[in-house]
């Protein structure tokens, strides 16, 4: 005990001395703060951003869309259904507890009961520990995305979260609404501890002295995080020097931030696809592939990117962004008004028809402006669109009702894999299978369904890529939906704050590795 205390004292001294040399603090502002400290309460960007600060995943994405080892040092596929992870041995939780394989499986079981995460972990059958430093993840069927999902396994401190809290409730409970131990208290292995949190106002992070990753170049010892909701205020806070790092940068301010000599702007092509869906059940004309093609050819999505998004997006012709397995380089945006008009004529619809359209006005970047532009473009092929825009809170119930003929939907693949887009956006909607949940167009193509399901079980990457590319090709030829663009991501920081090294296309900056001059 005494020796342990000495060690601790020495460690604190060393850490103190080390941090005195290059102790840096960072003030940052995002548009919102995380809903909860519980990594399993809500599957959202905010939760993941927080998780990467307070916890560590088994593996994580790098900027080249590959995997870097974190708490898992290495891994190997034992057979079709099993992947073995070898864990680091020198890792401690914030509480002081040792990290071991037990914590990984404990976390896995908790993911399986979280309403937000259990869908993602559905293909898994079991988590097995062979010893303290080895974990086997077993899937029900051969499953290609084990590593993709391992990025979601942020091992929690099982000892810390076991037992009952002051109110006699189970500390491990995942509660979506109402109070819970895990939503307010946290013990992870990550680079930062939460020193103070005033929800909606600020969070203060302190670097964890016992952090295992000694090779991390990160030198930030303190972070003050403030949510600033209004874009112009966020930018003003950066430009006036009140904060060092902001995200997202609103498109209207990109030029201004870029020109300012005191700050750096970092942008990256994003992975969220923005699309319009044409409801074939409500409008019989949309059943005709020529009409759908006409719509896709009439909408100048490159123009929208240039004029409305100010170049702050990448015009799309498919769901998968570049870098995803299913990205098909042959597919190009296809604006061609003359062709669109002739397709309408061919379909016997040169006089056009009326349609209704709904779009959110505070969900995606410039969402309602994009829809207004689309209305004007469709007017050129005599489709007269009656557009209604509304805040997202009202839009989602309307979307669930399929309340308009044309509806906007943006999708980010939670697995960072191409098949996820198709599962939700274009597979035949069905209550039983749960597929096509966001297919408001009611597009149904047995070939697409078959190929996507086939890809779920293929562990050979090459073959799987072929299948997924084929899916994109079929959707393209069929004009299953109207692809618009992938939104870009943008961060801005004071000069000397090297955020460009730690940001990524998933938009969870690895702030533990951030270097500040």
């Amino acid at each position: 005990m005494k020796r342990a205390l000495h060690c601790l004292a020495a460690a604190i001294l060393v850490a103190g001395a080390a941090s005195a040399v290059h102790a840096k603090s960072l003030t940052m502002a995002y548009d919102a703060d995380p809903v909860s400290l519980d990594p399993h309460e809500q599957l959202s960007g905010g939760t993941l951003q927080l998780s990467h600060m307070v916890f560590d995943p088994l593996v994580r994405w790098n900027q080249e869309h590959g995997f870097d080892p974190r708490l898992a040092e290495r891994w190997e596929r034992l057979d079709d259904k099993t992947v073995r992870f070898h864990l680091r041995k020198d890792v401690k939780f914030h509480s002081g507890n040792e990290f071991s394989a037990k914590d990984v499986c404990w976390t896995y079981e908790r993911l399986k009961i979280s309403p937000d995460f259990k869908g993602l972990f559905e293909p898994f059958e079991a988590c097995k520990t062979t010893d303290d430093a080895t974990v086997d993840l077993v899937t029900k069927e051969p499953f290609p995305l084990v590593l993709h999902l391992a990025t979601y396994i942020f091992p929690m401190d099982s000892k810390f979260y076991t037992g009952t809290d002051a109110n006699g409730k189970d500390k491990a409970a995942v509660i979506k609404h109402g109070d819970s131990f895990a939503s307010k208290t946290v013990s992870g292995t990550g680079p930062f501890l939460i020193a103070k949190r005033e929800q909606g106002v600020r969070i203060e992070f302190k670097r964890f002295d016992g952090y295992w990753d000694k090779s991390s170049p990160g030198n930030v010892t303190e972070i003050v995080f403030t949510p600033i909701k209004e874009g112009p205020t966020r930018v003003a806070a950066l430009l006036s020097g009140d904060v060092d790092f902001i995200a997202p940068v609103p498109p209207t301010d990109l030029e201004r931030v870029k020109k300012d000599p005191k700050v750096d702007l970092v942008t990256m092509s994003g992975t969220r696809i923005i699309t319009l869906q044409l409801n074939q059940e409500r409008v019989a004309h949309f059943k005709d592939q020529r009409v759908r093609q006409a719509v896709v050819h009439a909408i100048n999505n490159e123009g929208i990117v240039k004029k409305i998004m100010k170049g702050f997006a990448t015009a799309a012709a498919q769901q998968s962004p570049k870098g995803y397995l299913g990205y098909n380089p042959d597919l190009k945006p296809r604006f061609d008004l003359a062709k669109a008009q002739s397709l309408m004529k061919e379909a016997g619809l040169e006089k056009g028809f009326n349609a209704t359209m709904m779009c959110p006005n505070n969900r995606y970047v410039n969402d309602f402006k994009i829809c207004e532009a689309a209305v004007a473009m469709l007017a050129k092929i005599s489709i007269k669109v009656d557009l209604k825009t509304m805040p997202k809170a009202q839009y989602w119930p309307k979307y669930d009702e399929r309340a308009a003929d044309i509806m906007m939907i943006g999708w980010h693949s939670d697995t960072e894999d191409s098949a996820n887009f198709s599962e939700f956006l274009v597979m035949t909607p069905s209550k039983e299978t749960g597929y096509g949940q966001y297919n408001s167009g009611n597009y149904a193509n047995p070939q697409v369904d078959k190929l996507v399901l086939q890809s779920h079980k293929m562990t050979d990457e090459e073959q799987r890529a072929d299948v997924l590319r084929q899916v994109e090709r079929v959707l393209y030829d069929d004009a299953a939906f109207v692809p618009l663009h992938w939104q870009d991501l943008a961060w801005a920081a004071k000069k000397g704050v090297h955020v460009d090294k730690v940001v990524n296309v998933m938009n969870f900056p690895y702030l533990g590795d951030l270097v500040v001059d």
Binding site: L43, A236, A237, Q437
Partner: protein
């Protein structure tokens, strides 16, 4: 005695007002959107969402939900915020000091600026300074508050770098009250939001005071005072100004209530951690318990300010009886 009876009656009115507000709040909440969407990730299935809705009692009939709400409300429980996971009333009271200090500072600016300017404009109705003030107030009244706010941030935070652009700065805790008024940093953070908020009411008050004062200056008793050979100072500030105040207090009291509504915009632009910002966020997140608690609290504030105004009125003008009966 009269005052006590008056207060008791006002209390009764307050209860009725808040009951009506809660009924209205409750009946519009279904149109605010689906709170579940804000609580769960995009991929969660409709069946899962329905199960959660059942668990939270959102699928119960209106009467049942409202009854449950009333039963809680009489015990001071206005429901639990979905986002903060704490009692809604507690969350609002936490944010109350920030809003109160902002409104107080804005009111102070309004009084300190509008009284001298309004009186000056009344005394010198044709001078070029008056023309300038009146012209400026027309412009002021027609600029929306968020533009004023962004303009102020641009000039004083970005270009000049004198004042902070957002937030409340360093605060001091006095019991349950957190105040920003006791630190330099807190005061510096208060300046821009307070100016932006006061800019809405300032033109109105200048015009109101000017108009009232000019009217008073035309009355018989003022002319008599002039005839008596009193100094102009005494005529303006003792005789005329005092009577100008009466209508100004009545209108002013109601307008202070309106200021609370404008805090929603001001606080959002400045990321001021008060009730107004909280409310707008709650609307975006469809945090219905918080929305309803907010409108009830604000309703209460309106009733209280009106009562205080009525009481102050009797102090300034002893001829008025608050009980309404003939003296």
């Amino acid at each position: 005695m009269d005052t006590l009876a008056f207060l008791i009656r006002r209390l009764g009115q307050a209860v009725v007002v808040m009951l009506v507000i809660s009924v209205i709040g409750f009946s519009i909440q279904d149109n605010l959107g689906d709170p579940l969407r804000e609580l769960v990730g995009q991929a969660v299935s409709e069946a899962e969402r329905q199960a959660l809705r059942d668990e939270m009692g959102l699928n119960d009939p209106f009467v049942l939900r409202f009854g449950r709400f009333l039963a809680g409300a009489v015990q001071g429980d206005l429901g639990t915020s979905y986002f903060f996971k704490r009692p809604a009333l507690e969350v609002i009271l936490d944010k109350f000091p920030a809003t109160f200090e902002l409104v107080l500072a804005a009111s102070l600016i309004i009084v300190l600026v509008s009284v001298p300017l309004g009186v000056f404009c009344a005394i010198r109705p044709n001078g070029w300074v008056t023309q300038a003030i009146m012209g400026f107030s027309i412009v002021g009244i027609s600029i929306p508050v968020f533009l004023t706010a962004i303009f102020l941030i641009y000039i004083f935070s970005i270009e000049l770098g004198w004042l902070p652009s957002f937030g409340r700065g360093q605060t001091v805790t006095l019991g349950w009250w957190t105040t920003g008024l006791l630190t330099r940093d807190g005061l510096a953070h208060l300046v821009l939001p307070a100016i932006a908020l006061s800019s809405i009411m300032l033109p109105l008050f200048i015009r109101l005071i000017r108009g009232e004062m000019m009217e008073v200056l035309r009355t018989e008793y003022v002319r008599f005072a002039w005839a008596k050979g009193l100094s102009s100072r005494r005529v303006w500030f003792v005789h005329a100004f005092k009577n100008t105040l009466l209508p100004v207090i009545t209108v002013g009291g109601v307008q202070i209530g309106t200021l609370i509504a404008y805090t929603i915009l001001t606080e959002t632009v400045f990321q001021w951690p008060g009730m107004g910002f909280l409310f707008l966020e709650a609307v975006n997140r469809v945090d219905t318990p918080l929305i309803i608690a907010y409108i009830i609290v604000v309703g209460l504030i309106f009733v209280v300010t009106n009562t205080v105004v009525d009481l102050v009125y009797t102090l300034v003008n002893p001829m008025v009886k608050i009980t309404g009966r003939a003296a």
